[in-house]
């Protein structure tokens, strides 16, 4: 065949290809369920003592470096979020928010906590149940990823994706919200792969380990965790910051899903099939 016939016979064609295995789809949605409940019950637990410290100990009299609280302001109250020495008024959302029509001191507002009212015992019950669920689901995913080659095949960037030119090109394309088309859309782009790797291998394991470091029982079993994270209170702070990073990831992830073809993305995570337009050569298609 010649380049001329190649050019003449090449035409765009829409195909569906099998992108997500059943294991990936199932663990993805279970993870969505777990992380949603973990976040909302976690904020309920946070509300019981909305101050974060660094080190082995930390309580009312000690210096906190993140604090979400309420102060009285004449007849009413105002919410103040403090990070280091910077205080930001956050009335209505953080520190003070409306509960049944009345402005009430509450670190996180009632619409984002489980349960909606202040109840540490219930918050803990939901948190630990979904923590177990999350850990088991995560192990299934990690095992699958290793054994079935999902990490090697889909998640770890290939050499050609890691060249400075390629990365610079992708950053530019992302900034313009332009996404790969055709054959290149068969695989995740490198920014996507690196982000997923950070979430799968750094942020989510960090959530589990810092969570366990807050457990006095677990600390007696693996006291080195206290050295790794610099103490129970540091671990609590890292737990909170990492959770915030995960929330930021989810927001960016959802925006990307929306702007890069929401129905195609949703279909692929539900049915497994992702549609893309390829330039096919009739002679090579059998």
């Amino acid at each position: 065949m010649t380049s001329v016939t190649d050019h003449e016979t090449a035409q765009p064609r829409k195909i569906l290809f099998y992108r997500h295995s059943i294991a990936v789809r199932l663990t993805h949605w279970l993870n969505v369920l777990c992380l949603s409940f973990l976040l909302m019950s976690g904020l309920q637990i946070f509300n019981a003592h909305p101050d974060l410290y660094w080190g082995q100990y930390g309580a009312d009299a000690d210096h906190s470096f993140i604090s979400i609280g309420a102060v009285s302001d004449g007849d009413t109250i105002k919410g103040i979020t403090r990070v280091g020495s910077i205080s930001i008024p956050t009335t209505g959302v953080l520190g003070a928010s409306t509960v049944e029509g009345e402005l009430t001191p509450r670190a996180f507002p009632s619409w984002i906590t489980i349960p909606g009212y202040q109840d540490l015992a219930s918050g803990r019950r939901w948190h630990f149940f979904f923590a177990w669920f999350f850990v088991i689901n995560g192990f299934v995913y990690l095992l699958y990823g290793l054994i079935a080659g999902h990490f090697r095949r889909d998640i770890v960037p290939t050499k050609d994706q890691l060249t400075p030119q390629h990365l610079a090109h992708e950053i530019g394309e992302h900034a313009r919200l332009r996404f790969p088309k055709g054959e290149e859309a068969r695989r995740y782009n490198s920014l996507q792969k690196l982000t997923y790797m950070a979430v799968i291998f750094i942020l989510l394991p960090l959530m589990v380990l810092t969570g366990l470091t807050m457990s006095p029982g677990f600390d007696s079993i693996f006291p080195w965790l206290l050295n790794v994270f610099g103490g129970r209170q540091s671990a609590r702070t890292i737990h909170f910051i990492t959770a915030s990073l995960l929330v930021a990831f989810v927001i960016v992830h959802l925006v990307m899903v929306l702007v890069s073809g929401v129905w195609n993305n949703l279909r692929s995570m539900i049915t497994g099939y992702y549609g893309l337009t390829v330039e096919t050569d009739k002679e090579t298609v059998k």
Binding site: M40, I45, F46, A48, H49, D51, Y53, Q56, Y57, G58, A59, D60, A61, D62, W111, I114, P115, G116, Y117, D119, L120, A121, S122, R124, R125, W126, F128, F129, A131, W132, M214, S215, P216, G217, F218, D219, S220, I221, P223, L226, R232, Q233, R236, L258, V262
Partner: protein, 257 residues
Amino acid sequence: MKFELSRRRFLIGSSVAATGLLTGCDALVENASVNDILQKAEALTMGSQRLLQAHEPLAREFTEADLSPIFKANGTQMPDSEEYARLMEGNFADWRLVVNGMVRTPLSLSLADLKAMPSRTQITRHDCVEGWSAIGKWTGVPLGLVLQKAGLAPGARYAVFYCADEYEKSLDGSGQYYESVDLIDAFHPQTILSYSMNGKDLEVAHGAPLRLRVERQLGYKHAKYLMRIELVDNFRGLWGGKGGFWEDRGYEWYAGI
């Protein structure tokens, strides 16, 4: 335009779904069978921690340099009873720790009796269920030694601690503070009946004259103002039947996490 619309519809749809989920959540939180399922996690947590603690590890011990400058006093800070006021006035000379229930020899021990027994001093971290921690230095008699002195009767499974403070005012006594541990924690070397904190006699705010330290569990297990230890084979008959004041109010009996 098309994208704008679909995104908008998506957002409206999701906020409607979220509202439904939220009101649904509070209903779920109060649903008894949902709670039964969620509580299964407590057994899983306790089972796995106990499995990993088979070699009886100690909670980390710190140095004097790590002590909290101010150790937060929590819960009751001054028991509100005439009996306690009288005991306090007498510097706890008339106070006795009663050990009874499923024991061979019931005991009645004075503070001097307890101080005459072998003691253990430990600098440990106190973890409140709310999330804060404080480091303090505790001296006391290992609970195991007291239980050995009394001698356990066959079938004894738990030590129940009765306190002088009523944390919640009630007519039926259900607001009385009490706690319980099983024999694994009771005989753990760091489980002590502490009469001294940071080198001084235990202050009233911290549970004078005697409090429990059970270092691998959260603060609410560390019962203050101890009056009596009863050995039992279950705590079904006690107040809410869950083995402790906070347990009766929805908190886990196993507070290792």
